[in-house]
Structure formats: structure tokens, C-alpha cells
């Protein structure tokens, strides 16, 4: 629960960001539409003002025309006004004493004008009304003519207004409203509520005899555009909310994984503790059982009991090994330790391991080998042994079938050889929970009547971890009622055992031509327990000069002791200075040094030593020394290790087998 608020923060931040972006987009759209309306509205107002100014200028001109002349004739008036009103579609005419038409700018309109009606308004002013026109009366100083009437055609104004299609423009003049087609548009509720922009302006026409008029404009964006905006906001909101929820779930999942990892680590710690507690007694039980069995001290019934004890102890041992490998896999410290292995003997060891079970239980292991196997291959037999026995143990423990088949074959995949082991049982098949065990530790299958045996749920998971760490693969196929098939692909290397034997024979002057091949022993330790090829081949390296450099005296002594056992002539140095001094006077064939040295490191020291061994003029190496770095860390953890292809890297503790194999490669 410690991390709950943390994940909610992600959700809140995600939703807030989504809301802010939505709001910004909305505001931006509103502003854009408002700006569009303001721009169009300003243009309409400007146009109306221009129109007003033009009519004002025209009426002033006509008024001046009458003022400048004592007597204006009809011909003069018509010529003057026709020229003026050619562009602006307005009509000017004068009326006499009896309100009868006197002069007219365009005689074509005479009949239409005669339809007009003069009247006196409440302020005792004379007005002229004609349908489809707006009129303004101006007194003039002429004999027999009292007023000049200036009328503007509504139709012409409307034509002008209709030229603007994107905005509604409405004139309110002399009580009449003139508006363009856009104003007739029916607006939806959304348009009216959310996207409606309106402005209104008052204009004064009284200064040239006209009435004041109002210009009203409004604009609403098209429905398509509104839908587009709403759709974008909707989609972005959905994406933002979805992303926030996903982020929240992801963080929650990470927190859960973190908690699970802590739980797993605790379980591993407990298991490790148990592992160390039980390992010694198990080994004792196994040892004493084997002792009793080989002593033939028991009657046949007693021997069966011993076999049962051996089988149970082996199972417990397997659990302890799983725990150890699980810890190593968790700590990422698993490495492949290939060693020469007699495959036939290895398979025989597996058979023997299950003899005890076959004798006591009702299940049987059948091993099939595809074709003749090479006498010896380089393989990490300890890990392979554990993997195979783990899978077979599972088949024996949980399968309801009576037979377990194991097919072993050597294959090639992408130019790399591997050992393919297919283990098949004929039981009910694995449950969903059991299948999960391969990717989740501590998930044991549900117990059934036939399998109430030990199982802490790390066996299958450890198998997968181990095999993937060493570059192999594991696949499981299980069908209900048909059984389970587990296929392991484990990497190995071919070794030319015959040529090596011959080489050894010539080196040792005919001794040991048919030397025994070293058999893989499961659970053997690294330092001293192993029977190894190195011991048999040590003659090759008898008295080879080897310089050992380590600032740790204990490590130095142990390594020296191990190497001297193999026949090397070992010289030791505790620091860089003494090493350089030694190299100046002697050229050892092999230099084996620790990576971390006081004041320097192994690679830097090798650089110095190589320089000492290089001719300063020709830049050619004068002396051939093979350098080995021995470190508690893996090669990948050593900085710049890739830049030294000629230097061999090994991990502590010194593994004589691996060291001799490297030397074999060099001297081959």
C-alpha cells in the first residue's frame, strides 16, 4: 500500500494534462472563430461606413449644386445627377410646391416614384414613402422647388450584402431591416449555445438628412467544423484518459512486481538457509545408504528400503541444488562451465540415478539415443545433469502415466551444436497453474492423490532460468489426457579427443595413449574434486614458466599450489613493480594475473609488460607471452575487456580444467 498514492499521482497528472490540452484546444478554436467574426464584422462596418460617406458626398454635391445656381433647369439637374449617381444606385428628385415631381435624376424611375406617398410625421416634418426604397428629404433653395428627395434602392443594398457569404449582416434603417442570405440560416442548439458570435454598431445619417441606422452582424461556424473540433477533443480525451489509466495500471503492476520480487527474495533467503542446513545431512544419508548397499549387509527386502532411502535423499538433494541455482540465477552469476564429458557414461549415470526409483516405484524411465555419440564432448555436465533430472523427477512425481521416455540426440542449430533432450510422460497433462511454474517461481501444481510429494515450485522456473542463462532453450507441450513433452536444447562444443590423445601420446613418449576419458560427475566442485583432463595432459605443460601476479597472498599461494601440481614452474609477484622488474630479466611463457592490483589493474599492467616486450623501432613483439586475467568478476564486468582479444579472461576461483583447455587451444 506504500506505493498506492504514487500510482494515483500518475493518474491525476495524466488526467490533468489531458484536461489542460483539451481546454487549450477549445480556447484556441473559440478565439479563432471570434477573430474571424471580428474581422468580417469590421470589414462590413467599414463597407457600410464607406457607403454612407459616398451617399453623404453625393447629397452634399447635389445640395451645393442647387445652392450655387439661382435657377437650375431640369436638363442641368438630370445631367448632373446622372453623372453622380451612375455608380451609386440611388435616385434623386425634387418636388415642387404641391409635392409633385419636378426634376428626376433618372427618368426611367419616374412612374415608380409617382407611386410614392408624401406624409407629415408627428414632428411636423414631411416624409416620403416608397416600397423597396429608403428616402431622405433635404430642403433646397430654389424657386418653385421645396425639397430634394434622395432614395436608395433596397434591392441594390441587398445585392451588396449578399456578396458576403460567410457572415450575417443586417441593416436596420427607417424601421426596415435589410439582411443577407446567411442571416436566414437555421442554427442548431449547439451552434447557438457554444459557437455564436454577434456584434452591433450604431451609425448616424442625420447629418445629411438620413435617419440613424443599426448594423448587426453575427457568425456561427459550419456544423462540419464544429463536429470536427468536438471529435478531436473527444478522441484526445479518450486517448489521454486511456493513456493515464494504462500508466496507472503499469505503475501498479510495477509496484506489484516489486512486492513480488521482495517476497521472492525473502523466500530465496529462507530456502538458502534451509539449503545449507540440509545439504550436509543429505550427503551423509546418501553416503551411508550407498555404503550399506555396497556392503551387501541387508536381505533383499532391506535393499529395497535402502533404494527408497537413496531415491528420497536424491530428491532432497535435487531440491537443494535447485535452490542454489535459483539463487545464482537471481544473482545473475550463472556461467557455462564446459568440461570434457563422456556422454555415454553421463547417460549411464542418469540411468543409475533412476534405478533406485524404478525398483521401488511403478514407473519406468526409458532412455533412447538417436545415433552413435562421439566419445567426448565439452559440456557443462553438472548443469545438464540437474536439468534433466529435474524434468524427469517432475514427470515421475506428477505424471499419472507409468512410462517416462527420454530421447537424447545431438543437433545443429545456426551452426552451433546442441544436445536435444526430449522428456515425455503419458499422464494427464499439466494444469494451467503448473504451466505457470515455468515463468513464476514458487508455483507448484495442485497436489493430487498420485503426487503428494515434495515440491516448492522453483524446479521448473530454475530450469528455465538456468537454460536461458547458458544460451539454451526449453519448450513445454502439454495436452490434456495425452501427457507432457519437455524439450531441452543445451549448448555444447565438439572436442577432437583423438587428436588430443595422439598429441599427448607423442609428448609423453607413448605413455597413456589410451588414457581414460574423464567422466562427468554430477555435483563435483570446481577446485579440487574433479577428475580432469588437465591432470592427464599436464605433461604437456611440465616446467612451463608461469608468472603469477596477485596482491592477495592467500590467493597467490592457493593458485601457486594448484599450478605446481600440474607441473608448471611458477614464479609469484605481489605487485606491479616487482612484475615489471621480473619481466625485464625473464620472459615467462604464461602470465596469470589478478585484475585488481594495488594502484593499478591487470590490463594496464599487461599494456606495460607488452610494451617492454616490443621492439621500439620495428614495433614488433620480440617475445611471446600468453596473458591471462583472473578476476572475481565476469569478463563482461571488466571495463575495456573487449579491447584485449589476445588476453584470456577467467573467473575466480582458478579452474585448472578451464585453464588447461585454454592452453590446449593456444598450443594447438
Amino acid at each position: 500500500m506504500k506505493f498506492k498514492p504514487y500510482s494515483i499521482c500518475y493518474l491525476i497528472v495524466g488526467l490533468t494534462v489531458t484536461f489542460c490540452i483539451d481546454w487549450l484546444f477549445w480556447s484556441h478554436s473559440q478565439r479563432e472563430f471570434a477573430e474571424f467574426h471580428d474581422k468580417k464584422s469590421a470589414a462590413s462596418a467599414m463597407s457600410a461606413h464607406d457607403m454612407l460617406m459616398q451617399h453623404k458626398i453625393i447629397t452634399r454635391s447635389i445640395h451645393s449644386f442647387f445652392s450655387a445656381s439661382m435657377l437650375v433647369t431640369k436638363k442641368e439637374f438630370t445631367e448632373f445627377t446622372q453623372e453622380l449617381l451612375k455608380i451609386k444606385s440611388a435616385i434623386a428628385f425634387t418636388i415642387g410646391e404641391d409635392n409633385k415631381l419636378a426634376f428626376i435624376s433618372n427618368p426611367e424611375f419616374e412612374d415608380e416614384i409617382k407611386k410614392g406617398r408624401f406624409s407629415v410625421n408627428g414632428q411636423d416634418e414631411l416624409t416620403f414613402e416608397l416600397a423597396g426604397y429608403s428616402s431622405f428629404l433635404m430642403p433646397i433653395d430654389q424657386a418653385k422647388q421645396r425639397y430634394m428627395v434622395y432614395i436608395i434602392s433596397h434591392r441594390q443594398v441587398l445585392e451588396r450584402l449578399n456578396s458576403e457569404e460567410d457572415i450575417c449582416i443586417a441593416f436596420m434603417v427607417t424601421g426596415k431591416q435589410l439582411s443577407n442570405h446567411y442571416c436566414q440560416m437555421q442554427l442548431s442548439d449547439i451552434q447557438r449555445a457554444l459557437f455564436y458570435y454577434q456584434s452591433e454598431g450604431q451609425y448616424h445619417g442625420s447629418e445629411f438628412g438620413a435617419e440613424d441606422f443599426t448594423l448587426t452582424t453575427w457568425y456561427s461556424p459550419p456544423v462540419d467544423e464544429i463536429n470536427e473540433i468536438l471529435l478531436i477533443i473527444f478522441l484526445f480525451s479518450v486517448t489521454g484518459v486511456g493513456f493515464s489509466i494504462l500508466l496507472y495500471l503499469k505503475v501498479e503492476q510495477r509496484n506489484m512486481l516489486y512486492k513480488m520480487r521482495i517476497e521472492t527474495d525473502s523466500k530465496v533467503a529462507v530456502l538458502s538457509a534451509i539449503n545449507h542446513e540440509i545439504r550436509t545431512p543429505i550427503n551423509a544419508v546418501l553416503g551411508y545408504s550407498h555404503m550399506l548397499k555396497s556392503a551387501d549387509c541387508c536381505v533383499p527386502q532391506g535393499e529395497m528400503t535402502i533404494n527408497k532411502i537413496i531415491w528420497s535423499a536424491n530428491l532432497l538433494h535435487s531440491v537443494a541444488e535447485n535452490t542454489l541455482n535459483f539463487s545464482k540465477a537471481s544473482a545473475d552469476t550463472l556461467v557455462l562451465e564446459n568440461q570434457a564429458t563422456d556422454l555415454a557414461q553421463f547417460i549411464n549415470n542418469i540411468k543409475e540415478y533412476y534405478i533406485a526409483f524404478s525398483e521401488t516405484g511403478d514407473k519406468k524411465l526409458n532412455i533412447f539415443i538417436d545415433k552413435p555419440l562421439p566419445p567426448s564432448i565439452a559440456i557443462d555436465s553438472t548443469k545438464l545433469y540437474q536439468l534433466i533430472t529435474n524434468i524427469i523427477n517432475n514427470a515421475f512425481k506428477y505424471s499419472t502415466g507409468k512410462q517416462v521416455n527420454c530421447h537424447i540426440a545431438l543437433k545443429q542449430y545456426r551452426n552451433s551444436p546442441f544436445l536435444r533432450v526430449a522428456i515425455r510422460d503419458f499422464g494427464k497433462g499439466m494444469s494451467k497453474t503448473s504451466m505457470e511454474a515455468i515463468s513464476r517461481p514458487f508455483t507448484a501444481g495442485l497436489p493430487n492423490s498420485a503426487a503428494q510429494q515434495s515440491g516448492i515450485g522453483i524446479g521448473l522456473y530454475t530450469c528455465k532460468q538456468v537454460i536461458e542463462k547458458v544460451g539454451g532453450r526449453i519448450a513445454i507441450r502439454s495436452r490434456k489426457g495425452q501427457g507432457t513433452l519437455v524439450i531441452i536444447r543445451f549448448p555444447f562444443e565438439y572436442i577432437n579427443a583423438i587428436s588430443k590423445e595422439q598429441m599427448l601420446a607423442s609428448e609423453t613418449k607413448g605413455e597413456g595413449v589410451n588414457q581414460k576419458l574423464v567422466l562427468a560427475k554430477p555435483y563435483s566442485s570446481t577446485v579440487g574434486e574433479k577428475g580432469s583432463l588437465a591432470e592427464d595432459r599436464s605433461a604437456l605443460y611440465q616446467l612451463k614458466q608461469l608468472l603469477l601476479v596477485d596482491d592477495n597472498l592467500f590467493n597467490l599461494e592457493v593458485c601457486k599450489s594448484m599450478l605446481e601440481k600440474q607441473g608448471f614452474s611458477v614464479t609469484t609477484c605481489l605487485d606491479a613493480a616487482s612484475t615489471i622488474e621480473y619481466i625485464k630479466s625473464t620472459t615467462p611463457e604464461i602470465v596469470l594475473m589478478d585484475y585488481r592490483l594495488e594502484g593499478t589493474n591487470g590490463l594496464a599492467l599487461i599494456d606495460e609488460l607488452m610494451e617492454l616486450q616490443t621492439d621500439g623501432v620495428t614495433k614488433k613483439k620480440e617475445k611471446t607471452t600468453h596473458y591471462f586475467i583472473l578476476s572475481a568478476n565476469d569478463k563482461t564486468e571488466i571495463p575495456f575487456s573487449e579491447e584485449y582479444p589476445d588476453v584470456f579472461f577467467m573467473q575466480k576461483p582458478l579452474n585448472i580444467d578451464v585453464f588447461i583447455q585454454q592452453l590446449d587451444k593456444i598450443y594447438a
Binding site: A273, E277, S327, V527, N552, F554, R596
Partner: protein, 104 residues
Amino acid sequence: MSSQVNDIYIQQKIRFFLNHHAENDRKRLLKILQDEVILLNEAVTCVNSTDKEALAALKHRLKGICCYLMIQIETIFCYPDSKFELMLIVQVLQNQIVVVLDEV
């Protein structure tokens, strides 16, 4: 794991290590190991607890020794991340060497 179990585990590992060496060489090796661990203990005691680089070097030195004794410090202890933990492990190792030395 309890400290007593740790002690027994380390003792067994030291004995196991010695079993692979000649009987007349065991005491000498154990002495060298003791000296090395004493030096390591002194170095750990003197190192500044905030000097991560020096602590890492000492951890590496301890790991090197443990490699040869086949002691998986990551498995029995949490991997030492502080000076205190490092001191604790080195002292446990030092004490168990004394116990085994008495037997040889």
C-alpha cells in the same frame, strides 16, 4: 540464516578447502589466509564508510578470497553494501579461521 549456522558453514568450507591440500601444507596455507583476512579487516576498519570506490575494492578482495574457499557470500549473506556489513563478514571469517586453525 542464524549466525551459528553461518559459522558452521564457513568452518566446513575452510575444512573442505584444506582437505584438498597436502597435510603438511595446510597449516601454512591457513596462516596465510589468516594474515590476509587480518590485513583485510584492518583495511576495512580504516576505510572511510563514504568512500564507495575503496569499499568496492575491499569487497572485491573479500570476494576473491571467498571464491577459493567456495563460500558464496551472496547466498549466505546479503551482498555487503556497507562498511558495517563488510566488517561483519570479514570478522566472521577471521573468527572461523581461528577455530579451524586450532584443529589443524
